[in-house]
């Protein structure tokens, strides 16, 4: 119950007193925000009533958590080469899923952008399909692929491709749609065909965005590739799962730390790149 009280207190402290402020905005302009905060606080409390969690059990088992964490931090180098090679496999899967997703997504995006698609109905259909693909979690796509392709690195890549294609397809369609109509008009008037317009105007306009989006997607896909192993595809997720299931917690702990280090490096690189691209 203590978390509920915490939530309520938080919602209250998040609302500064209106009257004492010098009004910079017309009064009542912030109303939707306060209604929103109150509504989410209520929804959150209702959620916990719906869930009806057994906190007694959790508190009782907190010592368990301590011993699990302690054992995991007691790193074991047992089968370390296997951990490293599965991590490499996950990284390779991530790279290939992002690479092929980027290329296929670019084509899909070109057909999904309303201003350059050869047929407007097609653009709408493509965007609906992309929305559906993104709404089904990656792990589910991966499970379906596993069911018909069997295990292996190709199945992992194919499972990840659903979301990377949908992501890049949406991002590219949006970027392409931002190209001003006048530019396209001018090129058409000059006699350029569709393919020339695409490579001459549309693609160059989206290049800086492309780098930032790929970096972001790489970060997300690495997380997804890691958890794919836990539902049966290969990679470092499988190592973590197998190690925990056979009570080799030290080995699992080391694998988790390696995943963290790699994710941390990607994040650091992405952040620096974002800063640099802003300067350009």
């Amino acid at each position: 119950m203590s978390t509920l009280e915490l939530e309520q207190q938080g919602a209250l402290s998040a609302e500064p007193e209106l009257g004492e402020r010098i009004a910079v905005k017309p009064k009542g302009a912030d109303m939707p925000i306060y209604i929103f905060l109150a509504a989410s606080a209520i929804l959150c409390v209702v959620s916990f009533f719906v869930l009806d969690l057994n906190w007694g059990k959790v508190i009782e088992r907190i010592p368990n958590l301590g011993s699990v964490v302690a054992e995991m931090l007691h790193f074991s180098l047992d089968k370390f080469d296997l951990t490293i090679s599965t991590l490499m496999e996950t990284i390779a899967t991530t790279i290939l899923a992002v690479f092929y997703g980027l290329i296929i997504g670019m084509v899909v995006g070109a057909f999904g952008a309303k201003n350059i698609a050869p047929w407007k109905g097609l653009a709408t259909v493509i965007q609906c399909v992309l929305t559906f693909v993104r709404a089904v979690p990656t792990t589910v796509w991966a499970l379906l692929i596993l069911a018909c392709m069997g295990f292996g690195i190709s199945a992992g890549i194919a499972g990840l491709l659903f979301h990377t294609i949908a992501f890049f397809g949406k991002v590219f369609a949006q970027t392409f749609e931002e190209v001003p109509e006048e530019t396209l008009e001018a090129l058409r008037a000059a006699g350029a065909n569709r393919i020339q317009i695409f490579f001459g105007a549309v693609l160059p306009a989206s290049l800086t965005g492309l780098i930032a989006w790929s970096a972001l997607r790489f970060e997300i896909t690495f997380g997804e590739a890691t958890i794919l192993g836990m539902v049966g595809a290969g990679g470092v997720g499988y190592t973590i799962m197998a190690a925990v299931n056979s009570y080799q917690l030290g080995r699992a702990g080391l694998a988790v730390v390696l995943v963290f280090i790699f994710a941390y490096i990607i994040e650091a690189v992405t952040t620096t790149m974002k800063g640099k691209l802003k300067v350009l």
């Binding site: 959150c44 959620s47 589910v140 190709s154 997804e224 973590i240 994710a263």
Partner: protein
């Protein structure tokens, strides 16, 4: 003056060209390395895609389903898990963010510890947390809620710190010079300015947590994933497809709702 401006433009475009080239080279190297390591051949996949379509059209579609009652209960549980854990995480992250930003909390060591903890929490995927927590707490919805909270606190703390840093800058200086104490500065200046940013991140987390909570069940941490995984494991694909379509509809619905909320709270 004219010449200087022209120079500037040339340098910028050269620079962006250089960045682009570096990006392409890095992409090519990564691609070749990964292909050599995994021996992945996309054409092989194209050759076997017939099997995939046969699977989708015959084993998977059309959906057939009986246990609607169980399905609705699981959906309600999944949504409650996502909303509840995002709410609790937002409150915790809200408090941590003040300790994590150097513009409010002057202790550099506290900033550092908060940022480091947040980084560990968010860079390990939620499902991995769930798996570790299942080992300690056993299977159940409680574990799922805690796992979601762990990764969401990590993500929101960083995002809230970023928002605070953006907002704090000049406002702080101006108000401090008038002699305002730290609490009035926070409640009168920083909070109102940061609130829209906080809400945007909160809504983003609701979206990602709805997705995450649908798969937590696969490691035994409650929600609709349990049901879905069960049907797939039993090769009952017609039932699985029903659950998957319902999940997709719920996620799309939540995205439409959060999009609407973003519009009304952030204008």
């Amino acid at each position: 003056m004219h010449k200087k401006e022209a120079d500037k433009i040339a340098v910028a475009s050269k620079e962006s060209k250089r960045v682009m080239n570096i990006f392409l080279v890095v992409l090519a190297v990564l691609f070749i390395g990964a292909t050599a390591f995994s021996k992945f051949n996309p054409f092989e996949m194209l050759a076997t895609q017939g099997e995939f379509w046969r699977f989708i059209t015959q084993d998977f579609l059309l959906p057939k389903f009986k246990n609607w009652g169980t399905l609705w209960d699981s959906i309600a549980e999944t949504i409650a898990m996502a909303v509840g854990s995002t709410g609790v995480s937002a409150v915790i992250a809200f408090l941590l963010a003040f300790l994590g930003t150097s513009s409010i909390c002057r202790l550099k060591s506290v900033n550092y510890v908060v940022r480091m903890v947040a980084s560990v929490l968010r860079n390990i995927p939620a499902l991995v947390w769930a798996f570790i927590l299942v080992a300690a707490f056993g299977i159940g919805t409680e574990t799922g809620v805690i796992a979601l909270c762990v990764s969401t606190v990590g993500f929101l703390t960083r995002s809230f710190i970023e928002t605070l840093d953006e907002v704090a800058g000049e406002n702080m200086e101006a108000l401090k010079s008038t002699g305002a104490g730290i609490l009035p500065v926070i409640s009168q200046s920083i909070l109102p300015a940061a609130l829209p940013g906080f809400i945007a991140w909160f809504l983003y987390c609701i979206e990602t947590n709805i997705r995450a909570s649908t798969i937590l069940g696969m490691v035994g941490a409650g929600g609709i994933g349990l049901l879905m995984n069960g049907y797939i494991k039993q090769y009952n694909y017609h039932a699985a497809s029903t659950v998957i379509i319902v999940v997709a509809v719920v996620i799309i619905g939540v995205n439409i709702l959060t999009e609407y909320l973003r519009k009304i709270t952030l204008k």
